[in-house]
Amino acid sequence: MLDLTYEAPKVKTIAGAKHDWELVIGMEVHAQVSSNAKLFSGASTKFGAEPNSNVAFVDAAMPGMLPVINEFCVEQAVRTGLGLKAGINLTSAFDRKNYFYPDLPQGYQISQLYHPIVGEGEVLVEMGPGVARKVRIERIHLEQDAGKSIHDMDPHMSFVDLNRTGVALMEIVSRPDIRGPEEAAAYITKLRQILRYLGTCDGNMQNGNLRADVNVSICLPGAYEKYQETQDFSHLGTRCEIKNMNSMRFIQQAIEYEARRQIAIVEGGGKVDQETRLYDPDKGETRSMRSKEEAHDYRYFPDPDLLPLEIEQAWVDDIAASLPELPDQKKARFMGDYGLSDYDASVLTAEHENAAFFEDVANASDGKLAANWVINDLFGRLKKDGDKGISESPVSPAQLGGIINLIQKGDISGKIAKDLFEIVYAEGGDPSQIVEERGMKQVTDTGAIEAAVDEVIAANPAQVEKAQANPKLAGWFVGQVMKATGGKANPAAVNELVMKKLGL
């Protein structure tokens, strides 16, 4: 593996009335575990079902019902931990977090406060070529999701759907290592990418399958470094937690707003209250959730319905052995093996399906050309075609590899290749056969090209004179010959002949 050393990104500062301020951000990301059934019941996790149809009596907290853990959810949490280079705790335990809300029929959420299943790990968040922030992960624990309350169907009532109740979540808790709104978004993007590679969470933010609580505080330049040296939080400002956001854009807006709000308070001589806030995207501001303060005494205690969760090292090792190649390694390998730029490698590894497609094309043809064609032509074409994903691509890796091979063999020019690509995209078929059948083959026969060059020169004496005075204008002849041959002439051969014939 390549040993990559990164430079830390520049810390975002916000100018206050008196001086500059820095931001300190930590995140709790709730990622829905990809599983068929819920964490402690056999009800389905499927999104968009009839209300209250994916509900077992356990989820509805009927008296006497007992939770039985879904082993696959445990495996997914372990897999996620390994993917984030984190320690796995062979013994973990479940606790009850007590609060009352209509979409939480148990009156408590089963979570893991004292003994989480996953310990410390890290995520490398790239902010540009060679620039990255290493964000430390404090822990990951398994917990139940709550149900969904709908408030806008009736003026006096809230409607509750328990389909989501009891679905397994992984809460991924970072250290306060994120230093600006853009880094926060990049962190979520990277985390989402890793989870999707691992197959442990589909990362669908719109459906709420990935959402974040963001802790924001401000400090004076220099204070954060003292915190990092000592891990003593007293060097940092008081934090506020912005709850439950599932949009990258809103997360960034909320952080920016919240930081400015705190700066105004502190510079005005006031004190920031530690509290939970909500972001209102319509107003572009955060506001206090005061009514929840009273409920914040969660009275955690070990769940007596569940024995400690003990797993075996051998099982963890098996999961580790089955991990896929992760984004950082894949990107480094693409740069090393195929000679791709940092940017191209990042684009191609963003989604593992894209990376796999690219590799198939590259292995059937040439790495760098494959990267160009996949990124510029195929992605561009799919986007125009109703924003299709790579899995819906009408062009297969073998077909695209075939087109690239035809260019490399000199059978077709780059320009004709674009036409060929469009034909394959729209009609399908074998690229080399299409080239044969439709006479798209590049003319490499110098006699034929020479004739075309002679013809253009003979027909344009005025242009000849101009070009002889200013050789830069010779390109016009090349263009005319290409046009005359329907783009099939080899451009290099045409160029050479034009220069020779014009005596340049």
């Binding site: 009800a43 209300p51 209250n52 994916n54 039985v68 408030h151 169907m153 009736d154 009532m157």
Partner: protein, 95 residues
């Protein structure tokens, strides 16, 4: 540790149990008796002893990741004081 009436009232509120003011002194006294018993247990030296979570050596029971339950909307809603269009209907709780 001693529980006063204010603490008793707060615990009752957190548990959503209505306790009349005149019942608070007795409740606080009950709490104190329970805590006194715990204090007594605390006198036992458990240095180096792992907390016991089960009287028999048992492994946490697991289930496979298969959908085996659900599709019982009517039963789930059967005890609800109010249900509409498949939802539990409760007094408005939005902030």
């Amino acid at each position: 540790m001693s529980i006063d009436e204010n603490t008793a009232a707060r615990v009752a509120k957190l548990a959503r149990i209505k306790v009349e003011d005149d019942a608070l002194p007795a409740l606080a006294a009950d709490f104190n008796r329970i805590l006194g018993f715990i204090e007594q247990l605390n006198e036992v030296d458990v240095e180096g002893v792992e907390p016991m979570t089960s009287v028999t050596p048992m492994r946490l029971k697991r289930r496979e990741d298969q959908v085996t339950d659900g599709h019982q909307q009517a039963q789930v809603l059967a005890n609800a004081p109010d249900a509409r269009e498949g939802f539990f209907a409760v007094p408005k709780v939005v902030e």
